[in-house]
Amino acid sequence: MKTKKIMIILWALLFCLPVAAEERAPLANFELKDTPNNAGEQVEFLFVPAASPEEVPEFLLHIAIGDEPVKERRLVNAGKEIFLPLITGEAGVPVEVRVEAVMDDGSLKNLGTSSLVSRGEWLNMNSMKAFILGLLFIALIIFYVGRAKKGKDLFIRKIPGLEAIDDALGRATEMGRPVFYVPGTSSMADVATLASLNILRPVARQVAKYETPFSVPVKDPIVVSVAQDVVKEAYMAAGRPDLYDDGIAYLASMGQFDYSGAVSGSMMREKPATVFLLGMFYAESLILAETANSVGAIQIAGTDASSQLPFFIAACDYTLIGEELYAASAYMSREPLLLGTLKAQDILKGLLLLLFVTAIIFQLFGIDFVMDTFLKPEW
């Protein structure tokens, strides 16, 4: 037992030898580190010069990454610490950095070597919180969809903007004037556009049933083809494929203000009775809404662009505020699946609010635990 202890101490001393042999105050401290939360495509080299710029004006790095030839890099000693990412491309690549100090007389002094093999991680822990929240959300959705399917009545509060759709369409039919539907001015990548296209379907179906002229001017070419499909299917579902025409949904223009010009122009000429402005909008929102108003149309607007909401609220008859736009398809179809998700969304929001309030109360008492554990962006 005793010999084992002595052996351990001897071993430890052996490892300490090179350290003890080095100078007391190193000219620089450096370290190669594995970059966390990546696939090993990069490692980091942290360099902190300790010597003054007068003593050591420059440092010379010899960087060897895998089989690549050794690269030399000079670092000017500005007394600042330097963080150097080294690209390895993949995991399992050995990296070695040898550091030399270029002394003021031009001579080189070896400061030692740092080496490492790049390592990849399976999971990016920085995204874990969002992922777990996502899983919780899906679990809630499955639970509430199940309840809705069993026939449990799920209450949704009245959304006036959506209640008004039927009347607005009826009005256009009575007046014999067209209906315009603007699905926002963003691309398909914007979830607001998807939400808008979800509302387009029931609207198009109703329009087809009433045989009202319909126009869907679009700003993004991909949205055009999707909108054409949605309108076509809706006309077929309403049993009026004869009324469908590819020109109903069309690309008006791809520029922001050319688009608003084109759409305002057609509004002035065709005088729609009802105008839907649903989706993502930017500075053109008020131009469209006011033009619609000036031709006497009923406007039903909705957007999640918080800076455009005030314009819609001031100029339009009905406005779907933020998430009401996302709730619309569930509200209109009353499908249990969609209603279930809506309920799950509300519960999650409630849970988050509870968490916020708890965190705030704890912080008032000077306890940061809840805030740090659950609400900080990184894990």
Binding site: V76, A78, G79, K80, E81, F83, L84, P85, Q256, F257, A283, S294, S306, S307, Q308, P377
Partner: protein, 331 residues
Amino acid sequence: MKTPWYEKIASVDKKILYVIMFVVVMIPLLAKWTYNPDVMDEVQDIYDEVEEIYAYNLANPDAPMGILFSFDYGPSTSAELDPMMMSVLRHAFLRKIPVVTWVAFVDSIDLGKRITNFIAKEYGAVYGEDFVFMGYPYPMTAAVVAFGSDVRKFLVKDFYGNVSTDLPLLNKIYNYKSIGLIVTVSGTSMPRFWVTYANTLYGKKIATGTTAVSAADFYPFLQTKQMIGMMGGLRGAAEYEKLVYELETELIGTDTEMYMQSVYKQNTVQKWDTKVFTPGYTEEELREHISTRMTARTGMASQAAAHFFVIFLIILANLGYFFKRRAENKR
């Protein structure tokens, strides 16, 4: 029966309102009225931050801090945003702070180049030593992250094709450690992007200039100190313009025209790259340089008139509405 006055008010033709609005907007512009705003905290904060960098640079002349300017707007919002960019750039050049500029969109390249050179020329700044223009880095996210280590690795050349490592300025300022402030001027959600990357990841200070419409979106970031300051709309631009104007008067006096010309008279040495700008001014150029020192404040006079007109209209409409309702109640 004669229509009562309140009925008339309630149904005024829009075209009449539009014509009056046009006149109200045009008069201050033509008469060159200026508006003298009180400076709000969020604008003063940006100004103070730049002054702090100046103080730091005085103390550390060998390792100065620079400012990164990102032109995150296109021609459509330039009327509102140009004055902001110009004012902060003027401030930086006045204080001889190293300036790095780039643009976030393809159609801003021309605009970014023009404004950077326009202001640099006023103070005789030398390209490569006092300022650089990096063009349009693509993809933007990669460029912003590259600044975390060494931006010269990512942007190997500047806009004019000079090798980055050959530019003296970039050898001093190549990562966030030597960037004291990031100025993003934008009508889009780009400032949010800067908060996400440069502030959250690297703890950099962000100063934002934005259109009046988008200003409300960014107030939460001011409160959380994720942005150190904000210029909101033409008003914010006018405030900064005023601050810089005062500083300029203090440093070089009121005769800016004389100062600008003298920069190129004294120096016979060919230190300015003609690819960037031609030294010296024509009459017309001089006038342009002088007038851009007032753009935001003249614009604000016109905006103030428009605001008062709208307030007047709102009161008028409410009076009409009030009397109409009273008459209806009587009936």
